[in-house]
């Protein structure tokens, strides 16, 4: 198994800061904008973005929720076993809001398709944008593209991109894993 680091240390922090400034450029004071992290791993990213935005804008009330997409997946009964669900925590109204969907890695686009379906169960947002930390480009199976990208990578389908966070894994880092015997 080979591991290659894609993002860590200071570059990781700069990337998050840059994404936040891009968000501010489009959404100014976040009065009508909410962050939605896709469960489970997108919510860590969304937490970080919320913290960073609050410290840049000196504003404590940026709204953030977590969205679980388990029941909206398109591989139900096509994959062995089921993935157990996570909680939804969206304690605000989505109707008419600008929503930033946040996930750590964008690959086939199927998760985002499911997330858009799941999101609409909470109301009709004014606009939905997509922010990802890592975009595995040229591997999409659906016509979905992100609005804000931390880093783009070219990867093989057999490879895996893993994002770890200081809060949960002890370190902010993105690695690309390849099975060497393949």
């Amino acid at each position: 198994m080979q591991k290659r680091t894609l993002l860590d240390g200071q570059k990781f922090q700069i990337t998050i800061k840059r994404l936040c400034h891009q968000l501010i450029e489009n959404h100014i004071d976040f009065s009508n904008t909410v962050l939605i992290g896709i469960q489970p791993r997108g919510s860590y990213f969304a937490d970080r973005v919320q913290q960073e935005l609050s410290s840049i804008l000196k504003k404590a009330n940026i709204k953030k929720g977590n969205l679980d997409i388990t029941f909206f997946r398109d591989d139900f009964r096509r994959k062995d076993g089921i993935v157990s669900a996570n909680s939804n925590t969206i304690d605000f109204i989505i109707e008419g809001k600008n929503v930033i969907l946040i996930d750590d890695v964008l690959w086939t686009g199927r998760t985002i398709r499911a997330a858009m379906d799941a999101l609409l169960a909470y109301g009709r947002p004014a606009k939905v944008e997509l922010m990802v930390l890592i975009d595995r480009r040229f591997s999409r199976q659906l016509p979905i593209e992100p609005d804000y990208i931390g880093q783009q990578v070219d990867s093989l389908n057999s490879q895996q991109v893993r994002v770890s966070w200081k809060e949960t894994e002890g370190e902010d880092k993105v690695i690309l894993i390849s099975e060497s015997n393949k």
Partner: protein
């Protein structure tokens, strides 16, 4: 993300599932409870699945609850009631069900007056079967929703004391409840007149008490069952009035207990017999919560079973 699945393809009874299964069903039901309290109460999970609800016996709550659960999961639903069907023309159970399955049905939810009907069917047909009550044998989803309601109200089922009062002899709810509560680590007592307590029930590891007040003073939760007159071919007690006086729960008894207990009832209630109106409508009663949880539990069961491919 943990990948988990049930240890069984059918839900025929609590007897066939283990504690992990029950806990997986509860965790999934927590998520579905969140879904049914949203503005849009529907998820597309079962959109390519067809479910037949086959009821050979009357039901209001269970049938509605299953049907709502199926619709909230976007499944296609066909309903069948024995009274308005060819069963009255002499068709056998397997023939009836095979005809329904020939129309490409993936799952069958069945209620039947004979114990073991679900078991029998599961050996003869390919579809997955959910037992919605078979005679005086089991009613697994009722037991699951009862235990789920206790967990919701008291935080945990393990270590709690539950008394089941009434017609234990004819009750599938009692059997399933005893098995489910014990698998989750609760202590169970049954209470009722000697004629309505089955012989050898102590073999299930339950306590037996014939004095209602003693039983209520022992328990944290009282599950009051209905007297199933439709299943009683002989007289088991002199009169309903006498039963109500000996085993009916009223507000006065409830207020004089040494602690505040929770009152449950699987429905339908015979007000004034096993439970009086002021108890059924009191704040200690969680009867309507049970009904609400029923939809979430049934969604969880259907979802988890459907996720298992052949």
């Amino acid at each position: 993300m943990a990948v988990e699945k049930l240890s069984t393809r059918h839900l025929l009874g609590i007897k066939d599932i283990n504690r992990n299964d029950i806990e997986l069903i509860f965790e999934t039901a927590d998520n579905f409870k969140d879904v049914i309290n949203r503005p849009i109460k529907k998820v597309p999970s079962l959109r390519d699945i067809t479910i037949a609800n086959i009821f050979f016996e009357n039901s209001t709550r269970t049938k509605l609850s299953f049907e709502l659960a199926e619709k909230r999961l976007s499944a296609d639903v066909v309903n069948f009631a024995a009274s308005s069907s060819s069963v009255s023309k002499g068709e056998t159970l397997i023939d009836t069900v095979n005809n329904i399955l020939a129309m490409k049905v993936d799952m069958v939810v069945m209620r039947h007056p004979y114990a073991g009907a679900g078991q029998f069917l599961s050996k003869h047909i390919k579809a997955q079967i959910v037992n919605a009550g078979d005679g005086a044998h089991e009613h697994p989803t009722q037991a699951l929703l009862d235990a789920f309601s206790i967990r919701q109200k008291l935080g945990d089922v393990a270590g709690k004391k539950v008394v089941i009062v009434g017609d234990i002899l004819h009750s599938r709810v009692a059997i399933s409840n005893i098995l489910c509560l014990q698998k989750l680590g609760a202590e169970v007592m049954v209470c009722g007149p000697t004629t309505l307590i089955p012989k050898y029930i102590e073999g299930l590891g339950v306590k037996i008490e014939h004095d209602l007040i003693k039983a209520l003073n022992w328990c944290d939760v009282a599950n009051m069952l209905r007297i199933q007159l439709e299943r009683q071919d002989i007289k088991y007690f002199p009169s309903l009035r006498e039963y109500a006086m000996m085993y009916g729960l009223n507000k006065q008894i409830l207020d004089n207990l040494n602690k505040e207990i929770i009152v449950m009832h699987p429905g339908p209630i015979n007000r004034g017999v096993e439970i009086t109106s002021d108890v059924a409508d009191s704040k200690q009663s969680i009867i309507l919560e049970q009904v609400e949880n029923g939809v979430a539990i049934r969604m969880a069961v259907l979802y988890l079973l459907a996720s298992q491919r052949d």
